[in-house]
């Protein structure tokens, strides 16, 4: 998780808002916000960033306001990878899940789960 994403998440949680609540309330895409918080999406351009800052309750001109923009600027040049490597993905794979009782899980289904995790 990058520092910008971590700060974004801390501020959201400080509002007492779950990711789902925050996104529903403000008409945001939860997948994108989740990726932003986990550093898998680069911080957006200035206008959008300002909108996020306001939604997070940051006061214009406050220390937190500047910190938010500074962290975003520091990560602006970084281009996160869209897809995790196999090595990164293995820690994120499920241990307990099942489809139908008594069935071995077909290899192609396991591959599909790996693809989903890599893109999450």
């Amino acid at each position: 998780m990058g520092q910008f994403g971590e700060f974004f998440k801390q501020r959201r949680l400080a509002l007492g808002a779950s990711l789902r609540q925050f996104c529903l309330e403000h008409g945001l895409d939860p997948g994108n916000i989740s990726k932003l918080e986990r550093g898998r999406l680069a911080p957006p351009q200035h206008d959008k960033l300002e909108e996020y800052a306001r939604l997070l309750g940051l006061q214009e001109g406050s220390d937190d306001w500047y910190r938010f923009f500074d962290l975003a600027a520091a990560e602006a040049g970084r281009i996160p990878r869209d897809i995790m490597s196999d090595a990164e993905a293995v820690g994120k794979l499920p241990i307990l899940f099942r489809t139908l009782r008594g069935e071995k899980i077909p290899d192609e289904q396991l591959d599909e789960i790996v693809r989903k995790v890599k893109g999450a």
Partner: protein, 215 residues
Amino acid sequence: MDEFPIAYLSYDDLRDRAAMFLAQYHPAGTIPVPIEEIAEVKLRLDIMPVPGLQDALRSDDYGVVGFLTGDLKEIHVDEWIWNHRYNRYRFTIAHEIGHLVLHRDLYQGRDFDSVGSWKTFINSIPDEVHGWYEWQAHAFAGLVLVPERRLRAAMMEHLASVTDRLKREAIPIANVRDTVWDIILDLVAREFQVSVEVIQRRAEKDSLREGLLPG
């Protein structure tokens, strides 16, 4: 270490574990239990929507449409369920927390060096063992989202209200007992933000119908 450690917990053991969990993470005891907040704020789990996960998992016997990641840091939930089936979403979160609380030993120390070794491990879990894990997480989820005392109190309250109405309409309760029970299940499910099936199972486990609406 046993490859698949199972604690053979009874429903009453799980009831105790759920009560301890709620005492620690939701001492205010409000209903509906804010399971999402508990997961994100108290347990510091990331909950993330994943498009098409339901198709990949094809759902399981318990209708769970998400999973806890092997590193115990994230819960992935199908995006459609996230957006359109709030109660099922809540149950999925509670179920995965159940794995976190009850099955930590199974998760910890799994250091897969490749996707291939993960696949081998997944398919080596015996069905019976898997059945225990899933049943425990499922029961735990129901007990956390529908705490014992709160369930009984809610049922009594709704029963009193429905009974009053029947009296005003001069309808003998004996004639509509099953309907009354269904109405109560529905009202309580709305209050607790779970499905009617979850309330039904919890009420059965706590033998509530026999006590509240005998006959």
